[in-house]
Symmetry: C2
Subunit: 401 residues, 2 copies
């Protein structure tokens, strides 16, 4: 197989990114790859303790996809080693400890979601416990001797915590070390990550050099804000669009983003070319298109990435019926009940609310409607042999018949 | 076997020390030991990369000896694990890397020297590689999670280096961790060390608590100055009196110490009781004894600890003949030569100088005499069929006949 020319690859791969460094080394690696007809190893670290992917993750995956389409080797490193340890102090909530079974299940979920973007058959999937379990105390002393405390305290969150007197546990230095060793073991040429990973990705370079290897090039992608337009997209902020959201949910969520996010989303999570995006920007400036229509185009595009064009059209129709015309969706779920049941219990059992607490909050916010009337009673009961159309929030519907 | 009363033990063990902490816990451990008739585990870490013991080390060993005589278990932990790793950066000269063979040989040497003070048959000798080799990355993350960076930066040398911008390698945090884990593994009740070890000894307490164990009591002993009266006694400062020095060397070296060290040596490295020492102090004040005579008593005492009374008397006689009366020692070594030979080659071959460089330096300092005449010629040759008496420095003699 022949590779595309170095310059073309370079242009594609360095557009729509945050930073690539060092640029010269990247060029050099591409040249060597083309000359020797050998693909580059592109590494991405994956956290199996957080298996629910959202569109924020697609920023990085889209870039990987470009590498894959250009013929390079994509390596997903499932960080099962650290996930199974978690954070022994329990202070770091982003590092829950999960067991072997969960790790395997989560990895499966993870991979099935990733396959919505990558060609998973051409993707190498490895588990870092394989080599990290082999590291003993002796080897670890040698590994850690390659780094100084000052190097670690350069990292933003470490230096902030140190300077404000917050505790930094010694084991926290081990995770970046483990990640760096992954790059050594895998002979990674390029590692991709969010800007928050920059320190860790650079650290791996130092370790690779210590092992007499050509260091990896570091490619960072921006972190995108969630649908609130304020916080970084994250499950914990509830401002995310999940890979597994239904087409209707996806479409509706995109339509809810603030206007100033539209082009960032186009740039990093859509399938549009740069040229198309620039054309849209021009059209907006000259009032040939408005923000709402741009969002509709964005939403259709994104639904078709995760589903297909037909689903995207249906989601749009549904949105128009339900939200714009305040109607009932065509495919509303219909349930029958055989006995009197509390409204909130019913909604919870049918997954329209994630908890009773959420249900109560929604009632207090007048966000639950029964046959178009706002529900005010937290203990409202549904009677049998009656028909109800229930609307929860803007987009969730269910019918009882 | 019954133990001596708690109070008597407490008084003996806490006299002539730098610090014991916490005092209450020490008392409690003694009480429990006496009540249950179970000896305490007294731990001392030994560095097999520095097998040449000097009298500075005896300060700690003498205290161990008291514990041993009182019926407690002495555990010498040979730090072969870290010795075999050394300092991977090579920056720390006090951590040379030695191999398995050296470790074994050095440990043997070490133990044979220690047996000049301890009853080695009653001493438990263990090698920490046994359990530290078993620690994998996973376990190490858990261990290190028990400590914070701030805790380590409390240690004097770390904080000084950090504040003055000198590099601290990450692996340096591992050694105290390993040492602390030794205490966990060995269920140490008391760990003894020099004042420079205080941080490490205290760290082990924290780890023992994390493991649900009663923490060890920390007993520190002062570091004594070497014969120069200025630097801490150390092989690298050449101001030491080795366990393996000959009686004559030992005696001579003690006589060379500055007056202000006499009572510190009496207190920490002699066999004298506190009462005897106080009597000497009184005699000195009232001019009943002078510094020179005190040193002679100290020197005799020390030679008899490492050899016996007879050797001590002989060393004293020798000293008087050679140094005081500038005479020739009785037991002078006699060599014959069969061909013309360079003086410096001859001295080097017969171990009177440690290198030609030293020989040249001594000649320049007029410190080599041939038949009582100062040698000035660096290339002086010894002829056959002549008699020479050669004196090197103050105490080294050889005769050619």
């Amino acid at each position: 197989m022949g590779f595309m020319s170095v310059d073309s690859q370079y242009d594609i791969l360095t557009s729509r990114i945050e930073e690539i460094l060092p640029k010269k080394e990247f060029m050099y690696k591409l040249e060597k790859s083309v000359k020797n007809n050998i693909p580059l190893n592109i590494k991405l670290g994956c956290d199996p303790s957080r298996p629910d992917l959202h569109i924020g993750h697609s920023v990085v995956l889209n870039k990987l996809k470009q590498f894959q389409d250009l013929g390079h080797n994509i390596i997903l490193v499932i960080g099962d080693f650290t996930a199974m340890i978690g954070d022994p102090t329990g202070r770091n909530k982003t590092r829950p400890q999960i067991d072997l079974k969960e790790t395997k299940e989560n990895s499966k979920t993870y991979i099935s979601q990733v396959s919505k973007i990558l060609n998973i058959k051409k993707t190498k999937i490895v588990y870092n416990s394989k080599w990290l379990n082999e590291i003993n105390f002796n080897k670890l002393i040698k590994l850690s001797s390659k780094f100084t405390l000052a190097q670690f305290l350069e990292r933003d969150d470490f230096s902030k915590r140190y300077n404000s007197g917050l505790p930094i546990s010694l084991h926290e230095f081990m995770y970046p070390l483990a990640q760096a060793y992954d790059s050594v073991y895998l002979r990674s040429d390029i590692e991709i990550g969010g800007t928050d990973q920059k320190f860790n990705l650079l650290l791996a370079r130092d370790l690779q050099k210590e092992f007499g290897m050509e260091p990896q090039v570091v490619l960072t992608m921006p972190l995108i804000e969630g649908t609130d337009g304020f916080e970084k997209m994250s499950k914990s902020y509830e401002n995310y669009i999940a890979f597994n959201d239904s087409p209707n949910e996806m479409y509706g969520k995109i339509l809810s983003i603030p206007d100033n996010l539209i082009f960032k989303y186009f740039k990093y999570i859509s399938s549009l070319t740069l040229k198309e995006i620039i054309d849209f920007q021009l059209s907006l400036k000259t009032n040939k298109i408005n923000h709402r229509d741009l969002k509709r185009k964005l939403a259709r595009d994104i639904v078709s990435i995760y589903y297909d064009n037909k689903s995207a059209s249906q989601a749009e129709e549904n949105f128009d019926r339900v939200i714009v015309n305040k109607g009932i969706p065509k495919d509303i779920k219909i349930i029958s009940i055989s006995e009197r049941v509390k409204l909130l219990d019913f909604l919870f059992d049918n997954n329209l609310i994630s908890s009773k607490g959420e249900g109560k909050r929604l009632i207090k916010q007048s966000a639950i409607k029964l046959n178009d009337e706002i529900v005010k009673d937290l203990h409202f009961n549904l009677e049998i042999k009656k028909e109800y159309t229930i609307k929860v929030g803007k987009r969730r519907f269910i019918k009882i018949k």
